[in-house]
């Protein structure tokens, strides 16, 4: 596999694509948002239980490419137990990781999410990787939000 393809489809991404974590509906969720990418028609729903300021639980549903599914799956793992402020900081860092060449990512903060740095070489796929993240933001902002990558 060409090396940039190898960077994009790393084993951990393929694994989350095959077996997404925190996949499905979240009964008792008090925040929910739907996100879609008009370019490709991908849809994702992010549901969460927000207790005070803390993302107690989070799940996602939907269909999408390996990048969007793995990103959603790993996002839910990372977000569980975080505060809203932490979630927002992670969102910003993740976005920088995908879009800024020089932006040395705060690897410590993002943890294993750094596997998505390979997406940088595929600008058209950045939207795939951020769809669930935009949707989480919409869910945090309102009880029933719609997020779009546009």
């Amino acid at each position: 596999m060409a090396s940039d393809l190898g960077d994009l489809y790393q084993e951990v991404i393929l694994d989350h694509n095959r077996q997404p974590r925190n996949f499905g509906d979240l009964p008792g969720a008090n925040r929910r948002a739907e996100g879609f990418n008009p370019l490709c028609g991908d849809r994702v729903t992010v549901s969460l239980t927000l207790e005070g300021d803390v993302l107690k639980d989070i799940r996602f549903q939907g269909s999408g490419c390996a990048i969007s599914k793995a990103s959603a799956s790993m996002m839910t793992e990372t977000m569980k137990g975080r505060t809203r402020a932490q979630a927002e900081r992670l969102f910003q860092e993740f976005h920088r990781l995908l879009t800024e060449d020089s932006g040395a990512p705060d690897a410590a903060g993002l943890g294993k999410l750094v596997v998505f740095s390979g997406v940088r070489e595929f600008p058209i796929r950045v939207k795939c990787a951020t769809l669930a993240w935009h949707t989480l933001r919409a869910a945090l902002d309102s009880a029933h939000g719609i997020a779009s990558t546009e």
Partner: protein, 423 residues
């Protein structure tokens, strides 16, 4: 043996095209001679937009270098040349579609605008509350949304004729949906997402028996099939220049003269008027009534060059090549594990849509791209059709006259690579 008079007699007759030779055709398309990520470009996205032959590119350059002027208004030499070239193209399109009169050919931006024009100028005065517009499941969004907008405005209903699992229109059900309230039928000649060729003549017969006019979206048909609007007897036919190896931003609405005559203008402005006072405007005659403003003159002339180019190629040889290529690709891909072809109509042209179990079409598209292979991955502006097949998207390889068996081979090995990544 040449006898005196033979040459003279033969002079007005178009030279018979040489036998089809794909390598010679490829040499006419400069863009195909390039590598992408170090691999020879394999362009399998002609259903999205076709590549342009040198003849079209040169015509555009020559027009802007030598003839550019506004049309239908200048007294000067350049304007006369531009106008002549523009109107000659109208005659060329008329011949290409076998329409009766030049004035039945209206230049628009593309199929989308052509359908919007027909929906607005023809259908709006004819569709009322509880009336119906009939389309099919396999339509492109551009043949859904304009009708939906009209139906919403009028309190009318959009009816949708179903298809079978192979992607073929169910003709009996289509006919059953033609009712006393049906005001227009609008249907694709060839489906952009499946490649299905619809039986337009039978559709038109069924509709005309009930005095219902038919619009045919020919965007995907014109690059592959011989179009004869008189034989089809359709009332409107649309095409997009850029899918026909011509420039973007130019297309055609064909309409029967009697229908176009009776229709109000689509847009107001210059060129579409005979005289204007602040009290009253007299509209220009056909087809200028529908061509408000300065049109895409270069685009029209480029489209003319594309038609000339196509007509210089042996039509039977070309059709046989394209059909053999599609059959070959279908056979090769059908043998791949986990792969399912979406759209297996008996009558197909140009398009091979597929899905692979457990692999999203976008991932297929990205990996193929790194192999230099350009395909489309997504819903192909036909979301209701994707829903019909229960898939969010498909990968689509589409073929044109310049594609080869070697390129099908590259596609096949590219897909094997995809299968290797997503084991």
């Amino acid at each position: 043996m040449t006898r005196p008079g033979d040459l003279l007699a033969a002079a007005p007759v178009r030279k018979a095209p040489a036998a089809f030779d794909v390598e010679r055709v490829r040499a006419d398309f400069p863009i195909l001679r390039q590598t992408v990520f170090g691999k020879p470009l394999v362009y399998l996205d002609s259903a999205a937009t076709a590549q342009k032959p040198r003849a079209v590119i040169d015509t555009l350059t020559r027009f802007y270098e030598a003839d550019n002027a506004n049309i239908h208004r200048g007294l000067h030499q350049l304007s006369e040349r531009s106008t002549a070239a523009y109107e000659e193209t109208r005659a060329k399109v008329r011949r290409f579609l076998n329409a009766t009169e030049d004035r039945e050919i209206v230049f628009v931006r593309g199929t989308t605008e052509a359908i919007n024009l027909a929906a607005s100028s023809y259908a709006r005065p004819h569709v009322g509350r509880d009336d119906e517009v009939l389309i099919t499941t396999m339509e492109h969004h551009s043949n859904i949304v304009p009708w939906q907008m009209l139906c919403e405005e009028k309190g009318a209903r959009l009816r949708v004729a179903p298809i079978n699992d192979d992607g073929e229109l169910l003709l009996d059900e289509f006919e059953a949906l033609l009712g006393p309230r049906t005001r227009i039928v609008s249907v694709a000649h060839v489906s952009n997402a499946l490649g299905t060729v619809n039986p337009i003549r039978r559709i038109v017969e069924m509709a005309h028996r009930r005095n219902i006019p038919v619009l045919v979206d020919g965007a995907q048909a014109a690059p592959h099939l011989k179009i004869d609007v008189r034989d089809l007897d359709c009332d409107f036919y649309t095409l997009s220049g850029h899918k026909l190896f011509g420039p973007t931003g130019i297309g055609v609405l064909y309409g029967k003269a009697a229908l176009l005559e009776a229709m109000p203008p689509y847009q107001g402005g210059g060129d579409m008027i005979a005289s204007v006072t602040f009290e009253k405007t007299i509209y220009n005659r056909l087809p200028h009534k529908f061509e408000a403003g300065t049109p895409h003159i270069a685009g029209v002339i480029g489209l003319g060059a594309a038609i000339d180019y196509l007509e210089s190629i042996d039509p039977e040889g070309r059709a046989a090549h394209e059909q053999a290529l599609l059959e070959h690709a279908t056979r090769r891909l059908a043998e791949l594990p986990r792969l399912r072809i979406v759209g297996r109509a008996k009558e197909k042209t140009g398009v091979l849509s597929f899905v692979i179990e457990g692999i999203h079409p976008h991932d297929i598209g990205t990996i193929l791209d790194r192999e230099g292979i350009a395909i489309r991955a997504g819903h192909h502006c036909a979301q209701p059709l994707m829903d019909r097949f229960g898939v969010p998207a498909t990968a689509r390889a589409s073929f044109a006259l310049y594609n080869t068996r070697e390129e099908v081979g590259a596609l096949e090995s590219g897909i094997r690579k995809v299968l290797g990544v997503f084991r």
